[in-house]
């Protein structure tokens, strides 16, 4: 144990590393939003859909929840070109994480759909709401409220999951750390800085989410 920490050597690279965090946050945000959209539609299909559409959604969810995310992105990046679909590394990561999130968020939201209040659904039906209006005005506000904590949780996990992009050469936080590490060989210093930035980024996301949750669900929802 005679290692001497030399942060001085990597100090010039710190702004470069830290600015990579924006790309991480961006990938996480876009993939989460896309996944949330897919998850909402798929949860609605699983709850109200016909036999065939339910089967298709189940196949999608089972496939993406039971294979490693890394393999999914490998498939998009290395296998799809064989059939003529070329994705940049950034796009492969973004699409892969979105599809993966979609599967998980389908399952999370399905639980929320199932906990819908039957009395409100009946009131909505009698008042003439279409199925979509029932989902929009009765189920989703309920889902957003009860599922806010687990959804936030998944968002944080996805923020950390963006580090996978480094493997495909995307210059997000971890990717830039790889670059600096290769130049300076100060691994301990580089990755301790990266760890601190990840902690800061997820804390930042948690605070924003908590604040959003308070504002959104204390005062509840207005329609007009």
């Amino acid at each position: 144990m005679d290692y001497t920490l030399q942060y001085g050597q990597i100090w010039p690279y710190v702004p470069y590393i830290v600015s990579g965090a924006w790309l991480s946050l961006q990938i996480a945000f876009l993939a989460f939003c896309g996944g949330l959209l897919i998850g909402t539609v798929c949860a609605a299909i699983k709850t109200f859909g016909g036999r065939l559409t339910r089967w298709l959604v189940n196949a999608y969810v089972v496939f993406f929840m039971n294979t490693p995310q890394l393999v999914q992105i490998f498939f998009l990046y290395f296998a799809l070109p064989d059939i003529g679909i070329l994705l940049s590394s950034y796009m492969a990561v973004l699409v892969g994480m979105t599809l993966n999130a979609g599967a998980y968020l389908t399952e999370i939201q399905r639980a929320g759909f199932e906990s819908r209040r039957q009395s409100e659904m009946e009131a909505a039906e009698v008042l003439g709401f279409t199925r979509l209006q029932q989902i929009r005005y009765v189920i989703l506000p309920h889902v957003a409220k009860v599922l806010f904590p687990p959804l936030s949780n998944h968002y944080i996990l996805m923020t950390l999951g963006t580090s996978m992009a480094a493997i495909f050469g995307v210059e997000e936080l971890t990717g830039r750390a790889f670059n600096v590490n290769a130049e300076t060989f100060r691994s301990l210093e580089v990755f301790s800085v990266v760890a601190v930035v990840y902690v800061a980024a997820t804390l930042f996301a948690s605070v924003v989410l908590a604040f959003f949750g308070r504002v959104a669900f204390r005062t509840k929802m207005r329609i007009v």
Binding site: E120, L127, Y137
Partner: protein, 245 residues
Amino acid sequence: MAHLDLDNVSAAYGALRVLDGISLTVNRGETVGLIGPSGSGKSTVLRVLTGLLKPQSGVVRVAGDTINFDRPAEIRKLRDRTAIVFQQYNLFQNLTVLDNVMIAPTKVHRRKPAEVRPEAVRLLEKVGLADKLDSYPDQLSGGQQQRVAIARALCLKPEILLLDEVTAALDPELVSEVLDTIRQLADEGMTMLIVSHEMGFIREISARVAFMAEGKVVELGAPADIFDKPEKERTRDFVGKILRH
């Protein structure tokens, strides 16, 4: 003229047959009370009339039109003409009182919020909740919630109002307010079918009373006849038990 007509209607929840060939007519502008023991099918009649439960057999007519329950368009037409107030209010918990009343006219019937709003406010004033427009249902008492539910039902301007045990959850002071509202509606010529255990109320408000048991109408007649000199043994039994309390 028959506004609402059930002819030999049967309905079931799964294997449980709840309506067993019931026939019942409500004339235009008439208030009919529906009484009977728990499980006799009173609420189920209202569920059929709002399209929540499809009858297995029999005919349902609204203003002479036979409703085909296999066609969503006809169920929609049925729902345009009838409105129901539930025993448990069934308000939208995530919406304010005003939004609860306005959501169906604005989102389902696509009317302008600016046009619906004064009507909604007037209805809420009518039921004594002018100061609760921006409250949420969980901030109101049961009686207040029930009156919001009545306002919500009325905001769609139904021809026929179905009331399912609307006073069951109210405290006595509020019962009279809700009854005043309902009485006023009766005076305005609303066709109403009222399910209730409040015998005094049913007796006072109804033009005719139907006594139900085992999914059928056992006896139908003027309130005085049903309550004071019922013909059928089954009715006598029920009325006797109820009035002793």
